[in-house]
């Protein structure tokens, strides 16, 4: 058992290392379009993992996660267009902004649970959408904010500019790795276990003395911050942010990523992001019916692989690793 575990650990280590090397080599050999595809996947992987903190770990089915994705993008758009695109300045502003947004929405939303929570979060994000469309002076109205400058970093006069898609790929990659690592630490920490406890049985957590409301509030805020980060990167990437980032379809899409990938595993939703962002790019070039195909893929997962991609992988892994298991 222990040697098997150690084997697995070692195996996992090498796999991760090879994966990382591949991700570094990739942009050197791939076309700029393929680079942009993967960049986008990193951004959405962060987004999907952030929702997983709620959906998979805390048992909070938010259908308004786009609120923070859009918020991150719009705050960046506003700051970068009117002041500076220096990430040393824009990043803290966006993170604080999304945290505040999440605190405010969470404060109200967490009074409800279940379907009411789902609808409340939906309502909140739809209101953000409405504001984005109406508050033209700040948000650019239905056209959104375009012409967002490329990101830079630096202090004073020494400023480095990430001027190409190639360079931005690495920005996204690094953010993805950091976010993945942070969230991974989070879900394995005592706090993360507490969230799992809340998902499993909130009443019992209260009986143990946990002020579950505060934990949920913190989870909601952290998820909002990571979602804000992904929206922030997405706006830098597209150099544009549109009201659709707030729309419920965005929330729906990220929910699909989490479910198809496998909620409660972080890696799963990241893989979900790969599938959901890449599949349409290919399918839609061959058929106009790609919405239906996405729906079908989704249904097949629900019916035959309820644990998502990650569940499938585990199953395959179990079968090939230990054929003697009863």
């Amino acid at each position: 058992m222990t040697s098997l575990l150690a084997n697995f650990r070692r195996w996992q280590f090498w796999l991760t290392l090879i994966g990382l090397i591949a991700l570094v080599i990739y942009p050197n050999v791939a076309s700029s379009y393929l680079i942009s595809l993967l960049t986008e996947v990193f951004v959405f992987a962060i987004f999907a993992m952030s929702l997983d903190l709620l959906l998979g770990y805390s048992g909070l089915s938010s259908f308004g996660h786009a609120a923070f994705f859009g918020l991150g993008g719009y705050i960046l758009g506003f700051v970068a267009r009117n002041w500076t695109a220096n990430m040393f300045i824009t990043l803290p502003i966006v993170l604080i902004g999304s945290a505040l947004g999440a605190l405010i929405i969470g404060f109200f939303a967490l009074r409800t649970s279940g379907l009411s929570f789902l609808m409340f979060t939906l309502a909140a994000s739809q209101m953000f959408f409405g504001i984005a469309i109406k508050w033209t002076a700040v948000t650019g109205g239905s056209d959104g904010l375009s012409g967002i400058p490329r990101p830079t970093i630096g202090v004073g006069d020494t400023v480095y500019r990430f001027g190409t898609g190639f360079q931005f790929y690495f920005v996204a990659l690094i953010f993805f790795l950091i976010a993945f690592w942070l969230m991974r630490q989070l879900v394995h920490s005592p706090f993360g276990r507490a969230l799992i406890g809340i998902k499993s049985n909130e009443a019992r957590m209260k009986a143990l003395g946990y002020n579950t409301w505060r934990y949920k509030m913190m989870a909601f805020t952290l998820a909002g911050v990571f979602a804000g980060l992904s929206g922030y990167l997405f706006a830098y990437f597209n150099r544009h942010v549109s009201p659709e980032t707030f729309y419920w379809t965005t929330s729906g899409q990220v929910m699909i990523m989490v479910i198809i990938g496998g909620a409660g595993s972080l890696t799963g939703p990241a893989l979900g992001a790969v599938l959901v962002r890449l599949l349409p790019s290919y399918v839609s070039s061959y058929t106009e019916r790609w919405h239906a195909i996405m729906g079908l893929v989704f249904i097949l997962f629900v019916l035959f692989a309820p644990q998502g991609i990650i569940g499938l992988l585990k199953k395959v892994g179990r079968v090939s690793n230990s054929p003697n298991e009863p």
Binding site: Q185, H188, P190, G192, A207, L208, G209, Y210, N211
Partner: protein
């Protein structure tokens, strides 16, 4: 010294009155049992103390502090812990994780967000200790839902104990257990430190009479008798309710 006090508690549900003017004082270190037939208001009373219901009128005090409106978790943090009548566990987590959740909170480490939960040695050791106390060590990696019923019952108590309470409210700890398991559980409860105040709602009269220092009998939401086991046993009203004779009281109800 009085540790837990119910002061003129009254509870209505809609038009139904569940509890009428119940006053009760439990001394520090005392083991108190609450008995009464079904529908006597035992569970309602228990929930008022545990914080799952708010009384219509009256107050609840713990160590002299008014906790009538304190939420469940705040009571637990004051050292007033409780178990549930129906097993209320983290069924989809392992036995170890179940207990660890209780321990890590008690150790004030639950807000740690960075280090892996498994890397806190103090938590691990204490969790193991509690598991072995309740004979669950061998099942630590099992999901709680896969435990036998009696073991789940033990885990239920383990969770409450893991918070190191000063007072423990036990809601029918032996409900649904086999006679052998019941005896074991009674022995275990007996073996808990005498400093721990206990309030037990229990149907099994053997358990009640062997454990309790004092007994309170409820009927139709009112206290009808209170005193030492002998006093309650010989109380005519209790005898009448339990169908007259002492042997009937001893019969499992």
């Amino acid at each position: 010294m009085t540790q837990l006090k119910a002061d003129h508690l009254h509870k209505d549900f809609g038009g139904l009155t569940a509890l009428v003017d119940v006053t009760l004082e439990v001394k520090s270190g005392e083991r108190r049992a609450i008995i009464g037939p079904n529908g006597a208001g035992k569970t309602t009373f228990f929930k008022l103390l545990a914080g799952e219901h708010i009384p219509t009128s009256g107050r609840v005090y713990f160590d002299g502090q008014d906790i009538t409106h304190l939420p469940v978790h705040a009571r637990a943090n004051l050292g007033l812990s409780h178990t549930f009548q129906r097993n209320n566990l983290f069924f989809d987590l392992t036995v170890f994780e179940n207990v660890r959740l209780a321990v890590q909170h008690h150790r004030r480490l639950a807000w740690q967000m960075f280090k892996s939960a498994g890397s806190y040695q103090a938590i691990n050791e204490e969790t193991e200790k509690i598991l072995s106390q309740l004979g669950l060590s061998d099942h630590r990696q099992q999901l709680a839902r896969h435990l036998a019923y009696g073991q789940q019952r033990s885990l239920e108590v383990a969770l409450a104990l893991a918070t190191e309470p000063r007072a423990l409210l036990l809601d029918e700890p032996t409900a649904g257990m086999s006679p052998a398991e019941t005896a074991e559980m009674a022995k275990f409860i007996e073996s808990l430190p005498r400093s721990l105040t206990m309030l037990i709602v229990e149907h099994d009269m053997d358990v009640v009479f062997s454990l309790a220092d004092r007994i309170t009998a409820l009927h139709y939401g009112q206290v009808i008798a209170e005193g030492s086991p002998e006093e309650v046993r010989s109380n005519p009203m209790v005898q009448e309710i339990y169908l007259g004779t002492q042997s009937a009281v001893k019969r499992h109800l």
